[in-house]
Symmetry: D2
Subunit: 331 residues, 4 copies
Amino acid sequence: MNSLGRIFRISIWGESHGYGVGALIDGCPAGLELSAEELQRDLDRRRSGAPGTTPRREPDRPRILSGLFNGRTTGAPILLAITNQDVDSKDYEAKRWTPRPGHADFVAEKKYGGHHDYRGSGHFSGRLTAGLVMAGAVARKLIRPVMVSARLDEVGGFPQIEEAVQDAVDRGDSIGGIVRCHAINLPAGLGEPFFDSVESLISHAVFSIPAIKGVEFGSGFRLARMKGSEANDIIVGADGTTATNHAGGVNGGITNGNELVFRAVVKPTSSIPQEQQTVDLRTGERTVLRVEGRHDACIALRMPVVVEAVTAVVLADLMRIAGVIPPVLTG
Amino acid sequence: MNSLGRIFRISIWGESHGYGVGALIDGCPAGLELSAEELQRDLDRRRSGAPGTTPRREPDRPRILSGLFNGRTTGAPILLAITNQDVDSKDYEAKRWTPRPGHADFVAEKKYGGHHDYRGSGHFSGRLTAGLVMAGAVARKLIRPVMVSARLDEVGGFPQIEEAVQDAVDRGDSIGGIVRCHAINLPAGLGEPFFDSVESLISHAVFSIPAIKGVEFGSGFRLARMKGSEANDIIVGADGTTATNHAGGVNGGITNGNELVFRAVVKPTSSIPQEQQTVDLRTGERTVLRVEGRHDACIALRMPVVVEAVTAVVLADLMRIAGVIPPVLTG
Amino acid sequence: MNSLGRIFRISIWGESHGYGVGALIDGCPAGLELSAEELQRDLDRRRSGAPGTTPRREPDRPRILSGLFNGRTTGAPILLAITNQDVDSKDYEAKRWTPRPGHADFVAEKKYGGHHDYRGSGHFSGRLTAGLVMAGAVARKLIRPVMVSARLDEVGGFPQIEEAVQDAVDRGDSIGGIVRCHAINLPAGLGEPFFDSVESLISHAVFSIPAIKGVEFGSGFRLARMKGSEANDIIVGADGTTATNHAGGVNGGITNGNELVFRAVVKPTSSIPQEQQTVDLRTGERTVLRVEGRHDACIALRMPVVVEAVTAVVLADLMRIAGVIPPVLTG
Amino acid sequence: MNSLGRIFRISIWGESHGYGVGALIDGCPAGLELSAEELQRDLDRRRSGAPGTTPRREPDRPRILSGLFNGRTTGAPILLAITNQDVDSKDYEAKRWTPRPGHADFVAEKKYGGHHDYRGSGHFSGRLTAGLVMAGAVARKLIRPVMVSARLDEVGGFPQIEEAVQDAVDRGDSIGGIVRCHAINLPAGLGEPFFDSVESLISHAVFSIPAIKGVEFGSGFRLARMKGSEANDIIVGADGTTATNHAGGVNGGITNGNELVFRAVVKPTSSIPQEQQTVDLRTGERTVLRVEGRHDACIALRMPVVVEAVTAVVLADLMRIAGVIPPVLTG
């Protein structure tokens, strides 16, 4: 449903064209220094502006509406919010009955019986990830000295990212990419078998991000073509240090103290300027649509900070469960 | 932790060399016809025997110890069990301090402070998947007419599976593979955004299976290299039927009524007959070990039914939540 | 933690003297007609104003910040908020180290390491129940035709409520009471054994309301003195109708189709104008304190609507789980 | 549903006349010394034998089927089981359509569409509490030095328990009682507002025990008749020690370090030898029934250890969440 985590738990709320978007955090320890400015930094990394990102310009000023007192968390729930400013809803009503290929339009109509907020994709909008980023900024502070960082590995198969994006823009098309995420300074022992393996929890969170269609840890799909003698990471230290890291820092669903590494694939944005075929849901007839509005040609460009955010949230929860992070922070 | 699901929920218990292994199912509707024989069929598909699988031979006779009356489920929890028979624990104590590369030995020692049952990998054993298979057999009946089927796509990169496995056996090595899973007859509308997308829940479950290191839906990682104009599945019917299925049957985290398709990569078995380097945890010195015992050269061979099982479990839960499966079955 | 429910699930946020208070609802079906005005009605029943209630005057204007579109719920999370207006925080800093007897001051200091928001009791304030009332107003609409109503049975042992309250006010004291709650038109079969009996879930919710110290169903504590031949409710109809209702409408943890009846005791408000003994936490010395600020002499007066609210929330969840309320409302 | 707890979590399984009954424990720390003999002690306290208890005689030999190795818990799930021996199912089929007043017969038929195991009340049987007691015995060891103890306060309103019970037996009737439970050596700070107050969690667990109809903390329902000046527990030590304990050791839903005290009312057993009126569900006609089989005249006699058990389970979970009990026990 709409919450993630067992002890450090986040819920997401909001719509693209409604009042705003945000997150509610439960289970954050008391005593964590926190300010809206710190959330701003991560939000700024998520914002549009570069070529290939949407022309919608949102100031994205975060507010902390509860759970903070004298500059520190209190242990009570933390409500995070940003309001929507640059909203243009005029295109959506007209397009409502011709679902965009590759988009959530059709399933939203089906699942919610026509009651969903279809303006700007409503609760399905990529804008919801701003709530993830805010929650992630809190989690990121909490899990120190663990550091999570993600970057784009490739776009459209090319490491020359700007050129690949520009090419897609020029063609009136969109393009996918791959995000690589690392976490260092992790203690060995995180992960709760049988079902709450580190891979299970991270993939659960990452797959909740719109447009993610695959997640692999360590050498991932390349492991299918490897022998055990190649894939096994030789242990070279009594602290579990391995010579290679095909496992991506996870054995048996549990962190082994090496770097956590995973990759996630971002599909090309489904909203493209080109004319596309679809069906009119009222008549069942095939028709064509042209998606107007403002969209990212390469949503992958804005993804690394979102992937970092959900990873930090999952690690915060696992570190709370394992007792690595106490219920109250001191000093 | 050790349970999965919100309404139709399973828990796993057992160890490789203890009393046995099994599952406890909560939230199964009353009135489902069920017999131990039906569990047997799926268990048989998981059993060893083919070249490349372990010489350990377990009869795997399933028992239904609660929740069944007059051949039907009662609505009460269903306890499923098989006992261990062909147990040989003599090798393990000696090897305890030299963790096998690629295995859970090191993390289990760390996480459980030396208290874990290290015989045959204890609770980390692939044998635990027998519990998944039994629970999956129940779920599979429940979700009809939805049908879940999985098969091996490749082993070591080759579709000639027997040859590839035999080659690994001959080299005293192991080999990975890729499982492809399909579900048909799914209703549109399953999946509970924001965090409980179909992809989130299925990947959560699939990554809990030992040896899985990657999961991708539809065209998965290939989407990174596609344009939106290629990746978007054109809608050709008012029921949501699409001309292609790059999305794997899921948009916005919700089933769209097309076939659900995903692939999971199985790493090569970490236990191989070859000599491997590791560290003696008592001294910190590097040493070599030779893994004895009985192991699969290609655990991927036994995986399809396990992947089907967890997929059926997740779908059963989603269909319960969506009200597609009622709390009591009639007729 | 800070959420309640499995499918229809609410979370509470806010502080007495912060930005505001509210609730986040997850799992509300799409298609429910809803307006802020409807929340207002229940909030007004909770407001102060009568003799024996606090002189703090809050307008309590509810806002629905997400999950609503065209006057109906969308199926997305519903964020409910009211802002705080009539805040006077000056007394609290001085009193911080002398915990009020009967209050949460001491435990909050201990549990949150001094980081809690102590102004007006922060997250422990009775004001948080405004969030419950708003969520309850939504649940109440959802569960129709089930009707939940509560009233004060007694205050200080007397059915003459106004006189009893006035007497307490005159003495500079406070006074407790008993709330009786009924729900009618309930279907038989709600409740999820073993652990989620109707009594378990309702008592869980009701005991989360500040000041509640006891909950009993049907004839409750009087059953200790009854014989089985008296206590057993004779069944007089094939629909389960009983001649008496000592069970309060619940057998085996499951609704039996008769009226659900329970009572909850509200302790006297712990904040009283009289001088009271306590300890200075800095020195360990005993001292006296006089609680200033604005408090209810009989918080029980404002409780019925709060008890109704959490009851409706629990019933909404149970009716969702049982499939009585579908995921999408039509018509 | 069928599980209780967030980190230390138990599930219950079994039927009165099936294979057996038991519990599955998840989240128990590794390293706890445990043996079946220790479970036996608590089970023996629950067994029948005294006047007023059922003539059904079960040896109740507990087995620990997983999660134990070398006499200590491993951190893996712990499956606890006892088999049923003294089963006599002949009476039940005949009585199936004439639900016993005060019993779960009617609701079970309704809720499970006639598929429930009606022999000996199936999953609704008081025998299921043997699973609670076994899980409680584990929790009890885990929470040391916290000690939980319960006793019968009264039976039928009389502290002369044996006489009161004998009187009920002589009349062919049954009788209720009140159990008082204490926990000492509790740290201050347990309980997780807003919804997981200590009172919420304990009442949730206690109300899941068959026949419990009311729960009150500290002075409970007597608080309705007290003034604040009487009910407030004066704080006399900087450690939170109070002069009185009307709050039962809980303020604001959080333990305050004083003794935890609550009382629970046990209704008279609904199965009594006297002839009672009911309805034939097949015809809708009123009829009379005489409950045969073997039943307790005063089930309250066997309740104290059950109430202790669920209390210990709840406290174990809260102490895990608060970090008071670590994930691995040492020494």
